[in-house]
């Protein structure tokens, strides 16, 4: 078993052992990257900036092992990869029953003609083994079927129960190699789980993998909680909790459950969001009816007031370089989006369309700001360039609100209440092109999604 796994592979001499030391910190270790042949970018490439993309047919074989236990894990890994790629809308996994060549026969090189015959453009093969001590070792390869080329490969190691994360990392590697964009499958979603009557709605923070697996509650529902947001750099969230009937911004470590009130504000704080380096939180502090934006340095605890205006100023969001903040304000008479320097200087309005604009969220790529728009009683999710040009609306509903970005800035998630019934609230993901709208199945009504960065 081990001999077959470790048998030399034609392109193994191209393996670059990268970042081994850094990668073994977590439960999941990236052991090596197996690069494709020198022809650099083969012709198999997905252009995802166009509106409508014909998904490419991809064959994902069960990851092979001669042992029954490891085979079962290999089968599950292939299934998770397949579902990840399918949900992206860019791939069409081919039914395994159409496969001609069997995984056990592909340890060296696939018979490309077998895969061309079923119209697979890309092929994923892999092997899995359970090492002594129960650790999982997985190797995968992505092939360009028509060019008969090896494109990319990875070796990953993890605890046996972390096989899902391995699958997501493989899916991320495939997505990245074929689209040129970063992946977003090895991520999590924190959201607000809702139940009970609207007048006394029970809201609990919940977390799940981006594909809906590994769900668990983070809070017990005794206190109203709203608007969780992920740190871009750590597994921390910041959110609003009404603990003790005192609405305050909290900081919480997801893994340890440790939480603390952020700052010493003698009144309501809300609308928190991390700076891109994770070292600051911008939030809103309401005093005597007036809401202004403040930032707080999480290390020095120094607080800086950024807006001083009798209007409502809230929902701050940093640009990815940290130099600017977009926020919403009614200083011009109605709720609109503004951009200012992250020190509060140079406020300029950026939304000028018909209606009200709120909940700005700056894309991690920096090129767009997502927002919620209310016009003529309808709610919309849209994107706009930071200079206010090229507004596009990509979703609509009785209530759609609270966009959050996938770490690659190509996909948005938001929540939608399709009907007047609050129990219809659900999480929806959509490409920024407006294509590929998908509902995430949750066990309860769901709102306020927050997309994590890629898990380290």
């Amino acid at each position: 078993m081990i001999s077959s796994f470790s048998r030399p592979i034609p392109s193994l001499d191209r393996v670059r052992h990268v970042a081994r030391a850094a990668a073994v910190i977590g439960a999941l270790a990236l052991i090596g990257i197996l690069n494709g042949v020198g022809a650099a970018r083969a012709e198999l490439q997905i252009e995802i900036t166009r509106g409508v993309v014909e998904p490419i047919p991809i064959a994902i074989t069960d990851f092979y092992s001669p042992s029954a236990d490891a085979s079962e894990i290999g089968r599950r890994i292939a299934s998770v990869i397949s579902k990840d790629l399918e949900r992206s809308g860019l791939f069409r996994p081919i039914d395994q029953r159409a496969f001609i060549q069997r995984p056990a026969d592909m340890l060296d090189q696939p018979r490309f003609q077998d895969w061309r015959q079923i119209n697979a453009q890309a092929l994923v093969t892999g092997q899995v083994q359970i090492e002594s001590g129960g650790r999982l070792s997985v190797e995968f390869r992505l092939w360009d079927v028509y060019a008969s080329q090896h494109l990319v490969g990875l070796r990953l190691g993890s605890a046996e129960n972390a096989w899902r994360r391995i699958a997501h990392k493989v899916a991320d590697a495939i997505y990245q190699r074929l689209t040129g964009e970063g992946g977003y499958f090895d991520t999590r979603i924190v959201y607000v789980s809702e139940s009970g009557p609207a007048s006394a709605r029970k809201k609990r923070l919940a977390i799940m993998d981006q594909d809906g697996e590994n769900f668990r509650f983070l809070t017990d529902g005794r206190a109203l909680v709203l608007t969780p947001r992920f740190s871009p750099t750590t597994q921390e969230i910041t959110y609003l909790s009404y603990e003790g009937d005192q609405p305050r911004v909290y900081l919480r470590n997801i893994d340890t459950g440790r939480q603390e009130i952020l700052g010493n504000f003698p009144g309501m704080t809300f609308a928190p969001r991390f700076s891109p380096d994770g070292n600051k939180v911008a939030l809103t502090y309401a005093k005597n009816g007036n809401s202004d934006i403040f930032s707080m340095d999480l290390r020095t605890r120094r607080v800086q007031q950024l807006t001083r205006d009798p209007s409502i100023d809230t929902s701050p969001t940093y640009s990815p370089d940290g130099s600017r903040i977009a926020f919403e304000s009614d200083r011009g008479g109605s709720q609109q989006i503004y951009v200012m320097g992250s020190d509060g200087s140079g406020v300029t309005r950026v939304s000028f369309g018909k209606g009200r604009y709120g909940t700005p969220v700056w894309s991690p790529r920096g090129d767009l700001i997502a927002f919620t728009k209310i016009s003529q009683g309808e709610f919309y999710i849209g994107v706009i360039k930071p200079d206010g040009s090229d507004e596009r609306l990509i979703a609509q509903g009785y209530l759609v609100e609270g966009p959050t970005w996938a770490p690659n800035g190509r996909v948005l998630m938001f929540f939608r209440q399709a009907s007047r019934n609050p129990d219809s609230a659900e999480l929806v993901s959509i490409d920024i092109t407006g294509q590929n709208e998908r509902v995430l199945v949750t066990s309860t009504a769901a709102s306020d999604p927050a997309w994590s960065p890629l898990i380290p």
Partner: protein
Amino acid sequence: MRIKWLAPFALLAILAACESTPDESAATNGQTNESATDGSSGDGVSESTVVPGSQEDLAQNVGDRVYFDFDSSVLSPEARQTLEGQAEWLKKYADVRFSVEGHCDERGTREYNLALGERRAAAAKNYLVALGIDGSRLDTISYGKERPYALGHDDSAWSQNRRAVSMVQ
């Protein structure tokens, strides 16, 4: 059904909401409400069972809430009248404290509504202070759109939900 923000229609709805006393609207709502059903006698509530200085007393005999126009925290003449009654009532019960809760309808975004609810609660509180009530007896809290009173999804329900409610502490 498409919702349009027809100002005259909304105004009518507000006036209608203001004309009915809170306990009436609770009764017609046919739903439980923390302030209106606080009394110990579950049925046939008569004035004689109302504890003076209680939430029930305030709601039935003065009015425990004021209503606002869409996206506004301006106190209407009716709202001022209700708050003047609350100020007199607070002077009568000098050891009573209020938590003034600001609320919004569901047709705004969450964080904006938290700010707007805070504005509404502060508008009510500040008027009470202007009428001579010590500000230290008055807390404010905003619930934004998180705690609707009327559970409908039309202009009538929304006008009842745009409110500041004085809760006896």
